[in-house]
Symmetry: C2
DNA sequence: TAGTTTTTTTAGGTTTGTCTAAATTTTATT
DNA sequence: AATAAAATTTAGACAAACCTAAAAAAACTA
């Protein structure tokens, strides 16, 4: 397989994430996502097109090819395995792992990654709850779970709100929780099954079991 | 502190190693050591001089400044900690770790390295027996040991030959052992205390206890 | 739909790190 | 000491990955 530079890998990875949300990815979006200028993105896309990583027609947006997606999943696998390592073995906090993993993910020795995976016990999710692709690029399908059932120290994403009562919505609004919001389950209080929840950059708060039974989440 | 590119770091690190052996380092030596052309080395030295990492006068050879040495020890620390990790935790063989560590050493998060060090239990030597600088750049002073006393699975460097008898020298010549040669102690045979020794890229051989008592080595 | 705004691309430049070929300096040799 | 050889530096180029400013295309909008 061809070899890709760090910059090429960053483009491929970012396209992968952006194309989850929309049919095609635009030049401006990608420039924004990577932190470069649109003109630089155009340059890079020409190169990635030649290397058959993207479908791209000038002015028409772009998308990874099947090969590009496979490659992207490899980068994501490396990133998330390192995040797991940093969090699990080196005691990094879950919000500190990303920056370091950004560098480590580009060290591309296949043997290194396979052995790291084994050393970590073939984890299925990173500390943010995002799934870790296996060495074939396959990803665990995640089903929705009731927030009240989540173990402590997990990070989950709100995916559905069952009960649309004013009280629940009031609380959600107050805590600024919406679909897609990531919640960190800090701990569960035995005596009433209430749970302590934290949202990135905000103080933790308590949620009752009743409330949590109406919020569905996915891992990650 | 200033930030150095991967290429700059490779130059600094290689100068450090070369200047152990001689007063000053030459352009050709460094080019050879890094795998570039002498002209490229000259370019890089101008830059490193401006950044106060080397003492350098055109045509006169060069040497790291005190600051340069300190920086080099930081790179070497990262390299050897990763080698230890790869060998100890990921079960890489001792001769496979170097190449991967070459990449990992340039990931320069201070926090990462300090936590890795703690996770590994603050090891003092890498799998080749080379000392790992601490976070102040200090290195464990190693004393000479009798080869016959070395535990199996260690790598040592020949540092002194006591008995200058023809028989011993004959054997040393035959096995191509000289000062500075690295020996891997594979195992010790209980019944006569002979030891099995391997030199990189050569078949293993057996050495008697008597012989080993006349060879002194240092860790690494 | 014609004009305006936004998005994207092109054209031309810069920096980093490399190269080859030629010039210069140092070192070795006779 | 003069000359030949070796080492080093300079000069000029190139590729990668970025940039700014201008041109071109697409998308809005009145």
């Amino acid at each position: 397989m061809v070899n890709f530079s760090t910059s090429e890998e960053n483009h491929i990875k970012t396209i992968f994430h952006l194309q989850q949300k929309a049919e095609t990815v635009t030049t401006n979006e990608l420039a924004e996502g990577i932190g470069t200028k649109p003109a630089s993105v155009t340059d890079m896309l020409k190169k990635l097109k030649i290397k058959k990583m993207v479908h791209y027609q000038p002015y028409q947006g772009f998308r990874l090819t099947a090969e590009g997606e496979k490659y992207a999943l490899g980068i994501i696998r490396r990133h998330r395995l390192w995040e797991f390592f940093l969090s699990e073995k080196l005691n990094f906090k879950w919000d500190e792992v990303h920056a370091v993993a950004e560098d480590l993910e580009h060290v591309s020795s296949r043997q290194l990654i396979e052995r790291l995976d084994a050393f970590l016990g073939f984890p299925k999710f990173d500390p943010h709850g995002d799934p870790i692709p296996d060495n074939q690029g396959r990803v665990e399908i995640t089903q929705q779970l009731m927030l009240s059932e989540i173990k402590s120290n997990k990070i989950v994403t709100v995916s559905q709100i069952k009960n649309q009562s004013a009280q629940l919505l009031e609380m959600l609004k107050h805590q600024q929780i919406q679909l897609g919001t990531k919640l960190e389950i800090k701990r569960r209080f035995e005596f009433d099954n209430s749970i302590e929840i934290k949202i990135r950059n905000k103080p933790a708060f308590i949620m009752s079991e009743q409330q949590a039974q109406n919020i569905f989440v996915i891992n990650g």
